[in-house]
């Protein structure tokens, strides 16, 4: 569809119909409000008008981009070529660009807490926690292809490990970080054992159920978790012998989070290009062929599950340390949905994509606080729109390419 064809009479008629359809559709819920106690009806015709105009105008770009988003079946080779030449990749490959980017990023990361308010620093720390969670879930969903809708359970395990261990035994943050990670991994294995035989969507609902069970137990088992009122006064991490102001400790936490993020990136990228990582990918691509090639399905799935959980556990400890107060309300299904969206939006398996989309999905709503009421509405709409127009995610995953030194016949690049 070209621009000119967009505004023919026919197209306008279509859009009018769409507008009419949406006005009818939203009529009862948007235009009518009943107060059942006083038995009065409030009519809000202006809402309807706005829907009509909005639907009319939006239906043009919707159709236009849909026509464009899906070019006629590209051949696989052409697609691969396009992938190779995509701008982002070309940039990334150029050594100069890389160096500049690294220097720039380092400078920005280091100076950030000193340039911006501690409010901004806290937001950034939150975003980094989600980067870590996204990268962790990326192991499970993006690499191993296991649909986990209850990832938040392991996040909760991490957060509560720190909170409870500190409350009862006075354990420090530094001790709790590995313990929380370990406990989360343990939970991952405990859940994984019975359910990893299940096919994709069965796994999805069971993990979702598991996430809910953990939350409900935390909510109802007052003696153990202090129930819905949660646990407060969780200390922020500190260094022995150094007294930190609130501001300093949030900056410290920020750097801690940067370190954890870098650590995560390092570990996950090494894993991805290792024997284990390849097995995960193979499992995602074709379970039967994968087994027939000698890979132990259960074990491979379990490692993915446990490792993913480990990172959720660490994220949880960090979260508890950052907010100093946790309660079960922080660990709802919505949280799992957000983390999963980060992974899918990022491009399923692409680490850069996951990092980017974590920042987008966490920072945008934070800065949308101005329209705080509409935040989640917009969030939902953004998920749908992103998927409809870019189902493959922000950045397509690119496989590791091997160079061959010291082999007889070096490979020629295939165009």
């Amino acid at each position: 569809m070209t621009m000119r064809k967009l505004f023919t009479l026919d197209e306008i008629k279509k859009s009018l119909l769409v507008a009419l359809w949406f006005m009818v559709l939203t009529f009862p819920i948007l235009a009518v409000r009943v107060n059942p106690i006083y038995k009065v009806v409030e009519w809000r015709w202006h809402n309807l008008l706005m829907v009509g105009i909005g639907a009319f105008l939006l239906s043009f770009p919707w159709r236009y981009f849909q026509g464009h988003g899906k070019p006629p079946e590209k051949s696989a080779a052409a697609e691969n070529q396009a992938l190779k030449n995509s701008k982002i990749l070309l940039w990334r490959r150029h050594p100069w660009v890389r160096l500049c980017a690294v220097v720039l990023a380092t400078g920005l990361v280091l100076s950030f807490p000193f340039l911006f308010s501690s409010y901004q620093v806290n937001i950034m720390t939150t975003a980094l926690i989600y980067v870590v969670l996204g990268l962790g879930l990326n192991i499970v969903v993006g690499l191993a292809g296991l649909l986990d809708l209850g990832y938040v359970a392991f996040y909760a395990v991490g957060a509560y490990s720190y909170a409870l261990l500190h409350l009862h035994f006075g354990l420090s943050f530094w001790l709790c970080l590995p313990i929380g990670a370990g406990l989360a991994a343990l939970f991952g294995i405990l859940l994984g054992f019975p359910v990893l035989r299940l096919r994709g969507d069965y796994l999805a609902i069971v993990t979702l159920g598991f996430g809910e069970i953990i939350r409900l137990v935390l909510e109802n088992w007052n003696e153990f978790s202090q129930g819905p009122s949660g646990i407060s006064n969780i200390p922020r991490p500190g260094l022995p012998g150094i007294e930190m102001s609130l501001n300093a400790s949030s900056i410290f936490l920020y750097f801690l989070m940067i370190a954890l993020t870098l650590f995560t990136i390092l570990v996950v990228s090494r894993l991805r290009d290792s024997r284990i990582g390849r097995a995960w990918l193979a499992l995602r691509e074709d379970e039967i062929a994968c087994q027939a090639m000698g890979i132990d399905k259960t074990r491979t799935k379990l490692t993915a599950f446990a490792l993913g959980a480990t990172w959720a556990g660490m994220g949880g400890v960090m979260f508890a340390a950052k907010t100093t107060f946790i309660n079960p309300a922080s660990f709802t299904f919505l949280e799992s949905a957000i983390i999963l969206s980060i992974v899918v939006l990022g491009g399923m398996g692409s680490m850069l994509g996951v990092i980017l989309s974590a920042f987008i999905l966490i920072l945008v709503p934070e800065y949308l606080r101005a329209f705080s009421e509409y935040r989640m509405l917009i969030f939902g709409a953004v998920l749908v729109i992103m998927m409809v127009f870019r189902p493959q995610g922000l950045i397509s995953n690119v496989r590791h390419r091997y160079r061959f030194e010291g082999l007889k016949t070096p490979p020629e690049e295939l165009g």
Binding site: R275, I276, R278, E285, Q291, A292, R399, L414
Partner: protein, 262 residues
């Protein structure tokens, strides 16, 4: 010569359908055995039973690795069967489409390598060396099947015939002593089929791997097999050398039909 693989009264039922019926099959060292039969005869099902994808209803499967004691493998998981030294390809190509050609073959090395998570994270000496060896080993296999120029290409971008050869290379990477090929020539043009003929013979002669192959291309089968095994409706109806099979009236009637006289 000992039998690498032998099945006794192997039977597989799907509900009321008996897909494999009391089959006794034997593959000996260094042998190329063809398994032929009309569509739906149960050939693929037999492969699936042997490689652990299906659990046979009754009967036994024995495997004897060269220089080892025979082992009953009923009920083993597919990966355990592969670890023992049986590797296979699939009738409907099952590559890992979004992984590169080299990575596909490297997957085959998985069960012969040992690096663990810690090694992968720390990149210690052992892991690095093993990774290098894996790459080199896989690359040499790609050379063998003439796919080396595609190393870094995604598997799904390969032409059909090349995908079939990649499956063979991937199977070889598990260092099997018996290779099971399910219709390797399907969808290949005559030139490719001739190359395949050559490849299979080389695998047997140079690598000493026995081969059991399902194939509908009679020319290929008659050319390369030492023995042919014929199935119909799940039952074995004949075994013998190509010469014997060619003249077996039962086989002619059941399978080869008018073709063989032409």
């Amino acid at each position: 010569m000992t039998a690498l693989l032998s099945t006794t009264h192997l039977t597989m039922d799907f509900g009321g359908l008996r897909a494999v019926d009391e089959v006794n099959l034997e593959v000996r060292q260094q042998e190329i055995v063809a398994l032929i039969g009309p569509n739906g005869a149960g050939k693929t099902t037999l492969f699936n039973c042997i490689t652990g994808l299906y659990r046979p209803t009754s009967g036994d499967i024995f495997v004897q690795a060269p220089g080892a004691a025979p082992k009953r493998i009923n009920g083993l998981k597919p990966n355990q069967v592969t670890a023992l030294g049986l590797a296979r390809t699939f009738q409907n190509i099952r590559l890992f489409p979004h992984m590169t050609v080299l990575e596909n073959v490297m997957i085959g090395r998985h069960c012969r390598t040992t690096s663990n998570i810690l090694g992968a994270v720390l990149k210690d000496r052992h892991t690095r060396r093993e990774e290098q060896e894996t790459v080199a080993f896989s690359y040499r296999l790609l050379e063998k099947v003439h796919l080396d120029r595609y190393v870094n290409e995604l598997a799904r971008n390969l032409p059909y015939g090349a995908q079939r050869r990649l499956e063979i290379a991937r199977a070889l990477a598990t260092e099997p002593f018996l290779l099971l090929l399910d219709e390797p020539a399907a969808g290949m043009n005559p030139l490719e089929t001739r190359e395949l003929d050559d490849l299979i013979t080389r695998i047997r002669n140079e690598m000493g791997i026995a081969i059991l192959l399902i194939e509908h291309d009679m020319k290929l089968v008659m050319n390369i097999s030492d023995r042919i095994f014929v199935m119909e409706y799940g039952k074995e109806i004949a075994v013998g050398t190509p010469l014997e099979i060619r003249s077996n009236p039962r086989v002619i009637e059941a399978y080869l039909g008018a073709d063989s006289h032409a």
